[in-house]
């Protein structure tokens, strides 16, 4: 493993939410003490419950939003303050693919222009080279120059997603945060995109933070996968291993629920109970109200993320705690 490119140390971020204009504000703890390291040239897959703070983590890691607490270091240095020239210059090296491609595109500019934009911004190449690069990128994401001349509103969902991807790749960044980059693509194109990313990684040492709900794709592309639940990382481990032997009960549920054609919900763990509320975190382990195997301790004590052998770390009393207590629950 090479030197870490991105180091995230216990970042937190909460939003205030008020009901109505004058209502009382409640804090929504979207991300709560997340630490990650991503070695150069590798991919960290980030999966987890919807609303668990993946996108927020991605934005903070990229320096688009400051964390309330904690720090992000990029290439050994801490992140420049947003909006400064140094921060802007850094953008050529790190890019984001937003979860909502339609929202991330300017509806008044032809998409080719928007793909070209990062090149213009960072003055990469001559105008002719930029044109060439745009065509190349369009081709790489399976689009034609005719698509490039269109406006975002006149593209299909998948096409827009590919435009956003192409734009993010334009500057050949070192680090890419992909927030659901392939969710709207059919499997064939998805395969091409995943292959493209893998190729880039191989050729250029691209580092990826890959957020997705599609466990297959995550497994395909990631070296390490982190699982988030309610703003915290509950399990982290190498991709193959994690999906093959999930340890945390939530991870287990997640993997078992992943659908596949031809395999009908056999052995699927169905979670019951209320979805977790980031504004009112349950005491103890956040997952315990829904955990099929929860024990008394889970309700009172927050499990820490601790190593359980190999690269695997899990935050669960059942896994890391004394074995004796494991059996009571069921």
């Amino acid at each position: 493993m090479s030197a870490p490119l991105v180091e995230v140390s216990s970042i937190s971020r909460s939003y205030s939410m008020r009901s109505g204009m004058f209502g009382r504000a409640t804090a929504v703890h979207a991300v709560d003490g997340v630490s990650l390291t991503i070695p150069k040239g590798e991919t960290l897959g980030l999966v987890g419950e919807s609303g668990s703070g993946k996108s927020t983590t991605g934005r903070i890691v990229l320096g688009l939003e400051p964390p309330d607490r904690g720090e992000v270091r990029f290439g050994g240095k801490s992140m420049a303050a947003p909006g400064t020239p140094a921060w802007r210059a850094q953008r050529a090296r790190m890019q984001m693919i937003f979860q909502d491609p339609l929202g991330a595109l300017d509806r008044r500019l032809a998409v080719a222009t928007q793909i070209r934009e990062p090149l213009d911004i960072h003055s990469l190449g001559t105008p002719a080279e930029r044109e060439e690069r745009v065509r190349e990128l369009l081709r790489a994401v399976e689009l034609t120059p005719a698509h490039g001349a269109r406006y975002p509103g006149a593209l299909s969902g998948g096409q827009r997603q590919r435009i956003v991807l192409a734009r993010a790749l334009a500057t050949k960044p070192d680090f890419l945060v992909c927030d659901e980059p392939v969710s709207a693509l059919d499997v064939s194109i998805q395969a091409q995109v995943v292959n493209l990313l893998c190729d880039l990684q191989a050729q250029l040492g691209l580092t990826l933070l890959f957020i997705s709900h599609d466990l297959r794709v995550v497994r395909q592309i990631s070296n390490v996968v982190a699982v988030m639940y309610l703003g915290r990382i509950v399990e982290i481990g190498s991709a193959d291993d994690l999906f093959a032997r999930p340890e945390h009960p939530y991870t287990q549920a997640l993997v078992s629920a992943s659908p596949a054609p031809g395999r009908r919900s056999a052995g699927r763990i169905v979670l019951s109970g209320d979805p977790p509320n980031p504004a009112a975190r349950p005491q103890g382990c956040a997952f315990h109200p829904r955990c099929p195997r929860a024990i008394a301790r889970c309700a009172s004590e927050v499990p820490a993320l601790s190593a359980v052998g190999g690269e695997r770390q899990v935050a669960c009393h059942l896994v890391t705690g004394p074995q004796a207590e494991t059996q009571d629950a069921a």
């Binding site: 909460s14 205030s16 204009m21 929504v28 309330d68 509806r107 509103g153």
Partner: protein
């Protein structure tokens, strides 16, 4: 929140001081009230007596300090024309002005915004074109022309309404109409354009897909998204409620604050001008503060961001 308001109120106060100071300097340096009030044929010694009596011979900074000293004591000064307290003069006129501008404001809104919406709804149709041409004509035709045309038709030709004066509500109809038409035209233009901006957005399609009738899509989905320009303009319009009807007031012989202001400026009757400006600036600043607040109300994304206030 406290800080939020403190900053804004501080700024508002500063704005008002700035307005008053600027007006003071300009009015004092650009003409001699004595000559303007007493007229060009007034004998020199009469002029001199007048200047002396009102302290116009003092250095300007001295007059300025004097003025603010008086304000600190709650004295807004006296009109140099008849020596009456300026505030009395101004307050006496305010009801008359508001009697025109307030209803006109209501009509502007009631006429302009629906017209703009309607035109946007029927974009490109004959109705749209008619509304927009009328609107352009509405704010391009000088209001005194409009006023005189209305008078010619409704007062002179038809004899339905009085041509001027302030004796009954019927006297207010034509001035209010004149004021409303121009403002409504402006609002219609802004509303239509902002509306068109929004009608292409995906959430409009969502609303349609929910089965919301088009009319309602426009009013309850597009309108709030398109409201910023319209609200901004409304803010300015509220700010001009007090002194913004000069032309109409003079065509319709309607003694309002606008006319008082023009006369007072022409006479360099400083105390009166300042009194009016004070009121105008206060309304303007307040209404713009409210507009700012409304932005947040209209677009939740503009409310103070971040968790830790």
């Amino acid at each position: 929140m406290g800080r939020y308001f403190a900053i804004r109120i501080g700024r508002a106060a500063l704005t008002i001081v700035l307005v008053v100071t600027f007006a003071f300097v300009v009015l004092r340096l650009s003409g001699d009230p004595a000559l303007m009030i007493l007229g060009p044929e007034a004998p020199p010694e009469v002029l001199a007596a007048f200047r002396k009596a009102w302290g116009l011979d003092d250095p300007i900074w001295f007059q300025y300090l004097d003025y603010f000293g008086a304000i600190a004591k709650g004295e807004l000064g006296r009109s140099m024309r008849d020596g009456r307290p300026a505030i009395e003069l101004v307050l006496e006129r305010i009801p008359a002005t508001l009697a025109l501008t307030l209803p006109a404001f209501v009509f502007k809104v009631a006429l302009g915004i629906p017209a703009g919406i309607y035109a946007a709804l029927h974009r490109g149709s004959a109705i749209d074109r008619t509304v927009m041409i009328t609107a352009v004509a509405g704010f391009t035709v000088p209001s005194f022309v409009l006023a005189l045309l209305l008078v010619l038709v409704f007062a002179v030709q038809l004899g339905w309404l009085p041509s001027g004066g302030q004796d009954s509500w019927r006297h207010a109809i034509l001035p209010i109409t004149t004021l409303s038409l121009g403002g409504a035209a402006v609002l219609a233009r802004f509303t239509r354009s902002a509306m068109l901006e929004v009608l292409g957005q995906p959430y409009i399609r969502t609303a349609s897909a929910k089965g919301v009738p088009w009319r309602k899509v426009v009013t309850s989905h597009a309108l709030p998204n398109a409201a910023i320009p319209t609200v901004t303009i409304l803010g300015f319009m509220v700010g001009t409620l007090i002194a913004g009807a000069v032309v109409v007031e003079s065509v319709f012989a309607w003694p309002g604050v606008g006319r008082l202001l023009v006369v007072a400026v022409a006479n360099r009757d400083l105390a009166v001008v300042q009194c009016i400006l004070l009121l105008v600036a206060m309304t303007m600043v307040t209404s713009n503060l409210i507009v700012d607040f409304l932005y947040g109300f209209l677009d939740p994304r503009l409310r103070a961001k971040g968790a830790h206030a």
